[in-house]
């Protein structure tokens, strides 16, 4: 347990003061008093301001959830500040978290209203971070006594991925749901013109097309297509992270591109009223069921922030179930460096589902290798993997699965248009 302990400064001042008095008395030299009197005064003041409080310290984050690039403050909370003049905070550096001051070291006087020094923090990469682990020392007035350093336990901050700029005007290929914004193939009570047909019982009177009815002597109505929402499944490849992550403003690794693109796609479709689901192919196996709305989007972003990189057990057994239903648009976000992801995508395509692959391997990415590896061998292995990847992508293309590189707004427009057109044609499905 911490306690107030005398500082080295006060010990020195009192010891030298005592030595001065002793020397002056022993040698009868008043000049020694002149030398030591100021030190003795500082020591005496330190002793006089001995604190009696037993402060309880806590470090508290102002926000528990943030997006990459946003900032918050790490506050120090002390229940009893009586007898505290100076506070020293030493925060532990956390990877992908920027701090102000940069090294997390801060020493300040307690403000007149009891204000304590604040550490400003800004997470630079999505994920879960433990912040607030720090050593804190309190010093009494005249630097006589010190409390601590006390080690404080940190609290968890969830850093959601920043939503990459994305927009798409393309309609979903096979909208098959309830009321939504996509033009359906089925007739319904929408706004998109379908045909003019003879009147049937149950047709609304306001739908009657009078000009055609008069010309043909039979009642005709304007029929429209229904507008339905679509189900979108976002599959995130978290089998491995390729490249180096420099945070929100720096270099992006393959997983950075994947997660930010997934966040952008999820937000786009949720805002359009679609039902969005998430499945992470990683060791954590994170998933979110189909749903819509703002809270559902937060749930998806939260799952993306906590994904774990690695191979799932189901993938080894070949039993990975994505839970895809008919009419679902599947968007696979992957650098396609794993054969398993290629096989998984090909299986979905053969089931007749509209599948599109977003290639998230950044250009100029270099492999991360174990220290001591011969760079020539590492380079050769990387080139071989890229050749295999090219083959996987070519195989998917030959199956009719479009592959596009992530480039933000408009990435999927052309592909979704083509998929929508293809969805009108009769198809053979493998079950």
């Amino acid at each position: 347990m911490s306690a107030w302990r005398s500082t080295a400064a006060m010990t020195r001042a009192v010891a030298l003061g005592g030595l001065g008095v002793a020397t002056a008395v022993l040698f009868g030299e008043p000049v020694v008093m002149v030398l030591t009197a100021p030190l003795l005064l500082l020591g005496a003041m330190g002793l006089l301001h001995r604190p009696t409080s037993k402060p309880v310290l806590e470090s508290r984050l102002e926000h528990g959830v943030l997006h990459e690039g946003q900032g918050t403050r790490l506050r120090l909370v002390v229940d009893d500040l009586s007898g505290v003049e100076h506070v020293t905070r030493l925060s532990a550096p956390v990877r992908h978290v920027a701090m102000h001051p940069a090294d997390g070291r801060l020493g300040r006087l307690v403000g007149p209203g009891g204000e304590l020094p604040v550490v400003e923090i800004g997470p630079r990469r999505w994920g879960r971070r433990v912040l607030g682990e720090e050593n804190v020392a309190l010093t009494s007035p005249w630097a006589g006594y010190r409390w601590g350093p006390t080690n404080l336990v940190g609290s968890q901050l969830q850093v959601l991925p920043v939503r990459a700029p994305f927009d798409s005007r393309a309609e979903a290929p096979q909208p098959l749901g309830l009321v939504g914004a996509h033009r359906s193939r089925r007739p319904g009570d929408g706004t998109e013109f379908a045909s003019i047909r003879p009147f049937h019982a149950g047709d609304r009177l306001r739908r009657i097309h009078w000009r055609v009815s008069l010309r043909t002597d039979a009642l005709h109505v304007v029929s429209t297509r229904g507008e339905e929402d679509a189900a979108v499944l976002v599959v995130v490849d978290a089998l491995a992270d390729h490249g180096r992550s420099g945070g929100v403003d720096g270099e992006a690794s393959s997983l950075d591109v994947t997660v930010r693109a997934a966040a952008a796609l999820a937000e786009h479709h949720v805002r359009r009223g679609d039902r969005v689901s998430l499945r992470v192919v990683g060791s954590g196996g994170e998933s979110v069921r189909y749903g819509a709305g703002g809270r559902h989007l937060q749930l998806i972003l939260g799952r993306l922030a906590t994904l774990q990189v690695g191979r799932p057990r189901e993938l080894r057994g070949g039993q990975l179930q994505l839970g895809v239903t008919a009419g679902t648009v599947v968007i696979v976000l992957s650098p396609m460096l794993s054969e398993a992801m290629g096989t998984l995508t090909a299986t979905l395509v053969q089931r007749g589902l509209p599948v599109l692959v977003v290639d998230t391997l950044p250009a100029d990415v270099s492999p991360s290798v174990v220290e001591g590896t011969d760079p020539r061998i590492a380079g050769l292995a990387w080139r071989m993997r890229l050749i295999e990847r090219r083959e996987v992508l070519a195989s998917l293309a030959s199956l009719g699965c479009p592959v596009v590189a992530w480039r933000g707004p408009g990435t999927l427009d052309d592909v979704l248009h083509r998929l929508a057109r293809r969805a009108q044609l009769p198809q053979v499905r493998v079950r």
Partner: protein, 170 residues
């Protein structure tokens, strides 16, 4: 490590190291130059004091200076004692400021200002004691007059400082 010290820390450490050396050398203009080995010893201890301001090395460095001032003169009350007192005080305060945190901790300007004021207040005691010593010089001394005088001066300064630094309403 030393390479990671901030500029403020460097300044504090330099003052902490030079203070005792300056104080011991101040006996030279007063007529008693210090022995070279003593200067070397004080310099060595002062560097240790500057490097490790939390350690008791500072007591040794400044203690050697005080003892030297005590034994160097016989009934000497030189004005050079005042710069020497200032040098010792500066060294002490610089080490105190450096010891507020680890080596790489920057120096807070507000804390520095506060301690400069305190050091000035504390230093004002030195000329007062010196003037008192001059005044009483040559008179018949009652036993312990210096200690009693210092105790009175100290008590008066403490009371004045406490009264001045107390916040209204405390």
């Amino acid at each position: 490590m030393i390479a990671e010290w901030t500029r403020g820390q460097w300044a504090l450490r330099v003052v902490a190291a030079l203070g005792p050396v300056g104080a011991v050398l101040a006996t030279a203009p007063a007529g008693v130059p210090p022995k070279p080995w003593l200067v070397g010893l004080v310099a060595l201890l002062s560097v240790g004091h500057a490097r490790l301001p939390e350690s008791p090395v500072g007591i040794l460095a400044m203690g050697a200076v005080i003892v030297w001032w005590g034994v160097a003169f016989r009934d000497g009350l030189h004005a050079w004692a005042l710069p020497a007192a200032a040098a010792l005080l500066a060294s002490h305060v610089a080490a105190l400021l450096a010891a507020y945190g680890p080596d790489r901790l920057g120096v807070d300007p507000a804390t520095l200002r506060r301690w400069l004021v305190r050091a000035a207040v504390a230093f004002s005691l030195a000329p007062a004691v010196w003037a008192l010593a001059l005044l009483l010089r040559g008179r018949d001394e009652a036993p312990g007059v210096w200690v009693a005088g210092l105790a009175v001066a100290l008590a008066a300064t403490v009371v004045a400082t406490v009264a001045l630094t107390r916040e209204p309403g405390e």
